[in-house]
Symmetry: D3
Subunit: 328 residues, 6 copies
């Protein structure tokens, strides 16, 4: 029986674990896969979201331009590794100019849902909040209402309705470089109105002692939703962002079954430690194949470039079994 | 034609403007109407909400106990001035213990809506947010879902649906003594799920330069919704809370027609300047009479006692006409 | 059987509970007993310590001078209410100029121990720490080593050895207006070297949510050590200091048997709410009579004047039984 | 020989030291002399500057309006105690709209110099700085260039040229409620360009440990310039503003001859301790009579009302001799 | 017609734009040109100023020593790339010990003016402010009065009088690592007294959202003064310093004609990202040739080493035309 | 006569100063000697303590695990360069569970004293404080009482009694990333109770302007105790940790004879500048040979790996003679 509930994706980008490495998650040997100036206007390209699309892949990429404005760009790829990004940023279609006139976009997530691709990202509306849009072709994007009043970040939709309602992880924040942050779960009948907010998990200790936030769209497995998330530690020289994993209850995803006490990946290479924001590993998307259990995680490195890391679903679940405390 | 849209309330508490006073809002001469220890357990009784009820009045009162825990109590009155408060705090009935197990309650508002009395207050759920409940008798209170993820305060329901949806003013906040804060407007089809968030107004200068928050339930007038609100100034010895007024569009209440540049009431008496939190005037409720235009505003003073102030609707609207800048 | 273990003190200052008052602790009707300028050089006279001495009373008083320097003065009284203070500040005799050359003194406590009077206070030595001295006559004071490295405040000696060692409550602090603070217990074989540090209690919620510190010398009762202590709440206009009580195990005083959830006394009168530091009730000393159970607590008010409050030992213990949670 | 160098002013407001008072500076028994709402638009009237004018007195008053905007108003008096204030705020004439378009004004000082009255105040120009203007009649005010780039406050002109140049005390600040601040001395050939900046004095300890700032225009005496100034202490509930005195060298006023270690006046009355900013005594002006040595100091109280205090020049100089350390 | 108004400087250091590079400013391929320990006492050599001198070049260099004291050293070069620095720091000659006794020097600028070389730098005088000196030979330096009272940094003189007065850009600051900062323009008749302060530009968004400061001496062109300046962004791991450009009106330089919305150069190489202060590009000087339009910009990298970057005047002006918004 | 008082240690790890290097302390050419993942569970291995043990060496190592928990591990080596670390962390034996139940351990020091090996480290007990234990074999560790109440760090024992008492350097701190810190000296008769606290030295300027803390166990020389210590500078991107040296009086070690004004070693290599905490050099141990005067210093680099640096005792003392100011 396949662990991942979902389609087989035989062309998931992949590279075997290097010899001598015993870790549950390992880096792609040719990282970074996208450099900071892959398009002419870019200062940096990093926290980005990709999905299978037609015979290949498409995605929404965070490209800060050389004014250091945070913007979103579409991109396409045949193998998930080599990407062609649009030079022009995404301009959302929005009926209501009160919502549409803001044009900040960062840290996107993309999910296939109801035969469309939904994008959620950190938008601006008198404070940062979760912007929402859908696209059919990664060319035209229809913007919806923002999901919450400010301040909120790291909004991540589930890939199907749960209990008859749309579901989103999100992270209440404040107006600045928030020094705290828990993951919440919210529900919606229509992707417009949100309620029934549930607390999912809080920062604990060590690498995840300051704040946490959901990463890629959760992966449905027979044991629960597999969530990769980032955690932040406050060193005496600022924040350090690492990646961990959690397993959430399939029907009540605000209930945490397991959660990694150690991190799965932390900033240790030069491209993760040196850049516009030193010491950042920030996952925003994954591709997975139900048949082989292969998972490829896309993560921003040092807020500057895009990296790729690999694991297998059974190994992550095994790691979770041995490196968690039950959570209730 | 009567300015206030709504029922006549001939027994609104009242006292004429004192001789020599030329201000648009004046204090009750026997303030405070409720002292800090009016019930045995109380340390202080202040930011509280009242409504007409049967032949008299009922309300929900913030009574911090002598542990300095913030709690809500029911109260009843025949004249709106002399109140009998329940010694026991309100315990909300809640089907979902995930929500119901938190028991913090402060800064309540009460509104009659759909033939029920709805209470919104600052509740706790992994951070302060807007709690929601209804009651028919001010004895049994049925708690609903919290309206938002944290952090939010000063949630104030409108007394009728607008554009077919329930409507609430609210104030995104942070985890501490928030040094910022704008008023937002959110809509709901069911009082559970909230969306279509619109920015209403921001702090400006002077007495309202740090943060602002909605006060009593807005009063429907032929010119717009009359909103009393509090504004905060940061002096070098902390916050000063004063009261102003605004006029919001009847059908699109996130559009501000007028807004007082001067305050209407600021802490100047000893019971407003000295107490657990010096220099606080904090309005939470009003009673009004469509026939006479009389308005009585209930406000917390120094986070310690409850005060009463009076005005007339036409005078406030006149004041707004001469002391506002058009707002768009 | 008498509750208090210790000598009868028939002339403890006293006034019965006023009619209509139901509180466990009540104020002296002629408060403050010492005004801010009772001696010519004084700006304020407040957090101070008194003990029975000869046929009357003596004490060490915090008198901030008109330069706002914090200093200690001796004082004498026949009735515990009317005090004569020395115009000249205490100058400690100290063999080691490295210790003796600092002359800051504030928030003293005095205890009779080994037939001497020991003074502990908040002293300066490259940071605030606990100064120690003894006197036989309240005229000549012999200074000992400071008990701890900085930063420490609110050092309070027990009136007898416990487990064969001297014992002191103390409060680790930081270099400024510390926004945190727990009470610890430390032991010494010689009043010079201190060790075996034990955690006693932490801030909790409400009036004692920011920091706490021991007040008067603990009173030995058959049920445990009765400790009055101060707790601090952070309002949006600064700190509020109130007084609570706790019962500590007789032989292992770091074990808390009971602890008031509500405060016993909080700043509510004008002389407690208005002054150099608004909203402060800060107990530093008590007198008690084993025969009658009468207790008189001396407390600083608004960091400006000295107040007096009364209770009875059995009433306080009864209050603790009904207003505590067991603490372990 | 008269101590004060300057004209006799027989009608200086005056009241003898009350019996039993031994302090060098004493309050007027009918304080405050101007209440917070002496003109209709005023929220508070406090830190203000007065000078002899024609047969009586004129002045520039800080009147924060009921929007809590800081503004300056002219006022006139025949006895220095009873004042008639203009309802309309001062509108400075300014040739350069780049300078003139800002209309913030607070904490003014006024000095007679070159047969004109010069006003210096805390003005706004992309940050607080020292505004400059002159008037002949307290009706029309001609605004000059601001003296400094931001951030600067408490600019006080000397009443004559020193060493052939105009001279001004001033206080470099920051963009907020500055938690530091020293007094500097700057020179100008033309009241437009300023240079040769000299450090005068820094905060020390006690009541003047956080920041200090010059108060009234310095009084020329045979022993030096007599300067009243304010000092600020940071208590755990915010800032406390008191008044001290200093004697500056006549020809090199950046050299401090003496400086009070104790304060001369600190907030102790209800009108100084309770108001918009509790615990503030803030002197901005004085009147003095060379023949009698009488000095009347005008000071803002609690940032709410205007108070008056008295002293005699020889008593202040005597106080300085006994309560200073020589300063170099 | 030549764009740059000024002398031809045929030996400006130069290297053509590398193939494949399309940016307006490009780095020298052999950066850094001065390493951190180029003289024995140095911990780091970075933000420095150079000018043509005799047949070659001279300059004033910031060399923090191994005590991390900030100091200035003279240096000489024949080609502008290979430099010989004096081992001994500059000791300014100053007639007035009140000014001369401070010996902090950092972030210098040098300009030829009135046939002398004027140095302005960040000096100490009871707070950081702009120090001023001149030299004829880069051996003996005559110190003038400091230009302003503290707190001020990044003082940059124009290379000629404007409107008959000396002119200086400067940046009001505070006492610490200032989290804000606008560029101002001030005038002086004598290089001693400064006035007529005008606001030039404020931080905006992106890479220049926290603070900005003038860089090299402005270059006079037929279109306006070409100013390179630094801008700072606050990431969650501290400040990031980048370089942009602006065009100021020739006769009223406080009027901004154009200003780059994107940066021209940001920290992206290892020597700019890793060092004593990670992520710093800080320009302090330029050399330019009117005949060829070549410009060489000297900039500190990571507060550790000195880098060199190139551009051409017409390309920068072209870049400004296409990447600015008109500014007024 | 040998400068170092103590045993010859012929096998001290060693490498001669590289050609062209003139510094008093030089790095080992094969640094780092321990990489971040030398044991499977480790995220980083850095601030660690080593001593001669049997025929080789043993030590206590700070190994933060992949949860970023701070833990201590034993390690053994035959040459002091190649180390074998225990995979299992040290678990201290402690009779009193009140003390023993905390398991945080970081920044250890080890000293041979009374024929045992004593470990002091930064422990947790309701705040960071100095933990104490001894071992005979680096397998079983017996935990003693914590030396102080919180908050304290960098506790370093002297290798013999002084004046008949045990002696320890220590650094009072606060509850967070302390932005201040002086070195103190405390005495104990029994390693349990501590007193007679003496101030040793404070931060000064430059690289040691924010805080300082003792490093390795002081080395006894004929001129005094040679102490290597760390100092911290606050740049605008956080803290920078460097190493300096001091000479303390042999019998009164709180008296500083000399102290380096420049640093001896600061973060300049990639492994010191890039890692979990950029820009950290943090010495915790040294090995020395009385016969040759060779000293090897072990230091943590970037809170990530362990480095080794060399010097000779006479060179350090010579450096101190020429680069200190006498300290008293």
């Amino acid at each position: 029986m396949r662990t991942i509930i979902g389609p087989g994706l035989p062309n998931v980008p992949w590279e075997d674990r290097p010899a001598g490495c015993h870790e549950a998650v390992w880096r792609y040997s040719k990282n970074p896969i996208i450099v900071r100036d892959a398009i002419p206007s870019a200062n940096s390209i990093f926290n980005s979201a990709v999905v299978p699309f037609k015979n290949g892949f498409a995605g929404v990429f965070r490209c800060d331009d050389r004014s250091r404005r945070m913007q979103l760009h579409s991109g396409f790829s045949t193998d998930g590794i080599h990407w062609t990004l649009e030079n022009e940023r995404i301009r959302f279609q929005c009926d209501d100019p009160e919502i549409g006139r803001f044009d900040v976009g960062y840290d996107p997530r993309v999910v296939r849902l109801d035969d469309r691709y939904y994008v959620s990202w950190c938008n601006m509306y008198h404070g940062y909040t979760i912007g929402m849009a859908y696209t059919d072709d990664f060319k035209i994007y229809h913007q919806l209402e923002n999901a919450f009043v400010p301040f909120n970040r790291n909004g991540v939709l589930f890939p199907r309705k749960i209990g008859g309602k749309y579901a989103m992880l999100n992270r209440p924040s404040d107006a600045a470089h928030t020094p705290f942050g828990d993951i919440f779960y919210s529900e919606s009948p229509d992707l417009i109105h949100w309620g029934c907010h549930r607390h999912v998990m809080a920062p604990t200790v060590g690498w995840q002692s300051t704040k946490i936030g959901a990463g890629p769209v959760p992966i449905e497995t027979r044991e629960g939703w597999l969530l990769f998330y980032h955690g932040v530690l406050t060193s005496c020289n600022g924040f350090v962002y690492s990646m961990g994993g959690a397993l959430l209850d399939l029907e009540q995803p605000w209930k945490v079954i397991r959660r990694t006490v150690p991190y799965l990946l932390s900033p240790q290479t030069l491209y993760e430690c040196v850049g516009d924001v030193p010491n950042v590993v920030f996952p925003c998307a994954s591709l997975q194949d139900a048949d082989t259990g292969r998972i490829a995680v896309y993560y921003g490195a040092a807020d500057t470039v895009l990296g790729l890391a690999f694991t297998r679903v059974d190994e992550v679940l095994e790691f979770l079994r041995h490196n968690s405390k039950p959570w209730d």
